[in-house]
Point group: D2
Chain length 361, copies 4
């Protein structure tokens, strides 16, 4: 079978990971990436053997001046592609849609775009089939992906009558030196924050209200989930459920993974076992935190916002190309991206209380 | 009527504020403060005319060497006092209790101590009368105080069937240069965190579950409250309720108060109108965030953890001395501490949506 | 003598402090302040009794909608003034200059403007006389002010053959929630950074090279100064020199003032002794750090960037109005602003080494 | 030739990297690592196939309880080794020295130990030969290593009459969630800080004074170096010198590498090209910052404190075993660790000024 020809438009936090991921699939070919400025990311792309295309002549001149080879204009790249991964910044993707339409190309958008940019808002394990054969699909954002993966599993097992989620967001990407805050907590004062309705673009069955905060950190988002269940559950049953949920991993404070910092340190320690990035594409649910109280289930989870949508993006390519079913696609993706490698079982404290971090007042 | 003679044991974040507050009451006399090291805080206490007592002879020698006058040993101070405000660090207060008992003195402990250190866990507007005439009272922690003030009001107006609160905590005091984290979110993995049960030491009628997180900031705590109500409520009714709740102030993102940083900047701007500290002793509830959805009420609030318990501590003195009723005490305290000065009404956006902070993913 | 009528254009970090400072002078009258948005700062200005003027009709409408009283348009305010304090953001001041010229008004600019906006770049104790009677004077930036105050004293006492300064800058104002970095050190890669040449606009006699870095903090700048002296000096002589230098204060790590955080905590503790702001308008030099090695003098100092230029701005008013000499002006300013109150002598460790902060590698 | 048998005592930030590095050398065998707690690092070590030894029976019990296999006690591991890499925390290494002596083993200490723990303080390119055949060698700290590499090159080319360095230190390791500061700059008030004398343990020929500061960041240290040269130099000559200096790499703000955050992002982007860690073992000197002014040379550099000493540690093994000369060892080390891979030439701006980061005041 011919490989799917893929173009990546935008080479930032998601774009560079999407390009790496495409390059690792045996049924896809990375035709090239679109990048505007000949900075260190462009130079690393060259080192990796990726062809760089530029959005316009001004960019072309910039690349020439910087002696970074540019293979041509973005439109030429798009013409040669079967699927375009739009990894441009939020709300820029929609401005490219007319071009993709004109060229008659399929495109995968990211969660920075509004839902109506695409026919389907996508999380592989929830609604892959809806995206099969479509022209435009939107992979939902990092937060929405994390919520969809876990809440969907909970909903199928126990039914969710309602859910309330507080999202604590890292405020900037690790390489962003302009964005703060330095010493503040910033709430989203409109309740619900947009993530709640966004989750329902993927799993409309699950009632959800979200409140978002942000604080000084660059590493990961952290969610506190409170779901009111329709059927009785136990902590053990939820643990077992998550042990079997795709792209969800239980972790434990008892293993020293007590914060987003230690989780990312674990990511760095195991990067060599997963092909060289510290990315953690699974949603990390703290087993210690899982608590059932009456009909309420509470759990805490960490989301590596830079990478959790990458496997979804790869699966979305296979869905729009309609080349295989969800199980096959997810298995291929996971294997190629070494998802699940470098892992060990979370220590489950039975009848023991976890160590409290000193939090007196 | 003779003034109540007050000793302050411990002169850190709370102790120095408690001392200032006592000094401002016309029915109290600050006999002195106990301080261990002759550092800048001690030297400022001298500038303010406070007498410093030391816990032991070693401290006395340290003060002598540093040429900071020490008036005597702590025990001498305690003997002369009617009430001792124990503002020692968490879990140290309990070690002083036998001495207070031996001397037959009344003492007010802070929220760093466990509830059984005292006969009553105290928030003035909730249970002042229970503390009248008691020997030992515990003013609950900054977080518990904030929750007690607001939830008690909600409970009396609408009834609370259950409540779920996520507390985002500033991780260190502003002058603490040793404590992190620098770049991490740290969850309390044991659910519920201790604040939930602690609230019930004050208002046992209110069912509550809390989850605590901490992050890189020194300014204020921020709470997301979700209360399931027994009676129907509206946003307007809740706004009116909080407008009339003692030591609670509505604020609005529409006034530029969109984060804990801007709130504290407002605190600094108005310090001269409140006697010279940027302290904000009221609980600050964002009017914008108040949301009623079915039987659920959601609101966000900011807590100035350094100071919100200070007026409670003053009221607790009058309660244990049994010198007046709650209304009189709170009114006297508020006036002396200029609580309520430097304020303006929160801008209420009617039929308008607040500006969203850019939070794309 | 008639009071000098002062208008303040811009009501941000510097403008609000300048207005407060003018209001406290017995020989000045604050006519009003110009503010664009009716946010919390505007509402606090109203509480303080300041008249607010707006730059244009659009702003006027905004104030009306927000029910914040606006007294008129900026130009009306300027017309009534003897001196305008331009506290608009950097590079905006210069755009107002033609208006000030048209109205024939004197104006004091801040250090965010380039030197050629004014006839004199000003630090009171260095060159007050040069500014007497001038129409346009620029008070140099917080960093340049700190360097001018200390280096000028050193130069007069010992002669400076050359100097090298590394400036570690807090990256954002305390109420700025947009600016980072969160987890990065950002160097100014062009050497020298602009502060060196800027110091020479005030004290051209002192050769200086500066390198600037910025990091995650909102509190103060910190300078490391290395000056090569022409005449021999001793640590004691430098200590005595700084003890007698206006608007410079020696501090000591031995008093617990080991960081910018503890310094600002001290500022908060003494705010009530200085009229209600935690501002520290003196340059704070660590006595412990003063080191003479051969012909090199090294010292470290902290600069409260929000406030150190405020007294300079007040003195600049008297200079351009030519109402008194430098000594008289500085004495009046210092007294009105309580500069020097809330202080104690720095502990000088003789023959003793300061405690090392644990910094192993 | 038989492989050198290596034991790693301590499996923290340096220990885990040292173990990985040993495992990659074709002339060394990693016998095992010593680890106290069965946390995530231990579990990852197992995944990597490393044998874990424990310091005592209590640790052994802990590992058993956690079901993490422990191969035996540390002393057994040490007995089987030719060389022990002591990567225990600072000042702990010295407590192990008697054991190493009793067992008659060679040991490499890290820079957290004082210089007299070993016969030689070591940086490969400066003094490899001095360490040949010795029993105890100390690899100097991350900061000292960076200064030794660059100053030694400068000294050999131009002669250094004196040098002054300000070190801005990241305050905590990335996985350290306890250490701050959150919002402060902390100076080392004793001048010189210990790094200056420490550099002279490696290159006593170079006069140096250092001042150390620390701030809220976890990523890298940043040095500002000012060296007074004996012979005339030019920016071009210094650039050429550093282009040829081992384990030093020129970088440029013009490539978007304007901060430690972007450098580490580049490290992550190229990790897959260097075996899977984002480590940057070379010292990164900003070409833009190199400035010659009279006899003074100024340059800024970034130091990846977690990893720059790792290749030195490997070379130190070959030195104490006396198996080859410095050139051979450094070449083998660099190749095995992929040092120099994932690189591109720094963009040199000729006759052009770098973009200034906005740093107005």
């Amino acid at each position: 079978m011919a490989k799917v020809k893929v173009a990546v438009n935008g080479y930032g936090v998601i774009g560079k990971r999407a390009a790496d991921a495409v390059a690792k699939q045996d049924d896809m070919e990375l035709l090239g990436v679109v990048k505007q400025h000949p900075d260190y990311s462009a130079k690393v792309a060259v080192l990796k053997g990726y062809k760089i295309y530029v959005p316009d002549q001004a960019s072309m001149d910039g690349f020439k001046k910087a002696s970074v080879p540019a293979a041509g204009l973005a439109e030429d790249l798009f013409k040669a592609a079967d699927v375009i991964l739009d990894c441009t910044p939020g709300k820029v993707g929609v401005t490219y849609k007319p071009l993709y339409q004109k060229l008659g190309k399929k495109a995968i958008f990211q969660g920075g775009e509004k839902k109506d940019v695409a026919e389907v808002s996508f999380t592989a394990q929830c609604n892959y089939d809806k995206a099969r054969g479509k022209q435009f699909v939107r992979v939902v954002s990092c937060n929405t992906t994390g919520l969809s993966r876990t809440l969907w599993a909970i909903h199928q097992a126990f039914g969710i009558a309602k859910s309330f989620v507080v999202l604590l967001r890292r405020a900037a990407d690790p390489n962003d030196i302009k964005t703060g805050p330095i010493n503040a907590f910033i709430p989203e004062l409109t309740v619900p924050s947009h993530q709640g309705p966004d989750v329902q673009t993927v799993i409309p069955e699950v009632p959800i209200t979200t409140v978002a905060l942000k604080a000084n950190s660059t590493l990961m988002h952290l969610h506190v989930v409170n779901a009111t269940l329709k059927k009785p559950a136990t902590k053990d049953a939820v643990i077992k459920l998550f042990q079997g949920t795709p792209r969800v991993k239980l972790i434990s404070g008892a293993d020293g993974l007590q914060s987003t910092a230690q989780i990312m340190d674990y990511g760095r320690d195991t990067a060599s076992l997963r092909g060289g990035r510290d990315d953690l594409m699974k949603i990390l649910v703290w087993a210690d935190s899982i608590t059932v109280k009456g009909d309420e289930l509470i759990y805490l989870m960490a989301i590596h916002n830079e990478s959790d949508v990458v496997p979804e993006t790869i699966d979305a390519i296979r869905a729009v190309m309609n080349v295989c079913d969800v199980k096959t696609s997810m298995a291929k993706t996971d294997k190629a991206l070494h998802i699940g490698e470098g892992e060990f079982p979370a220590t489950l404290l039975v009848g023991e209380k976890g160590k409290e971090t000193a939090m007196l007042c």
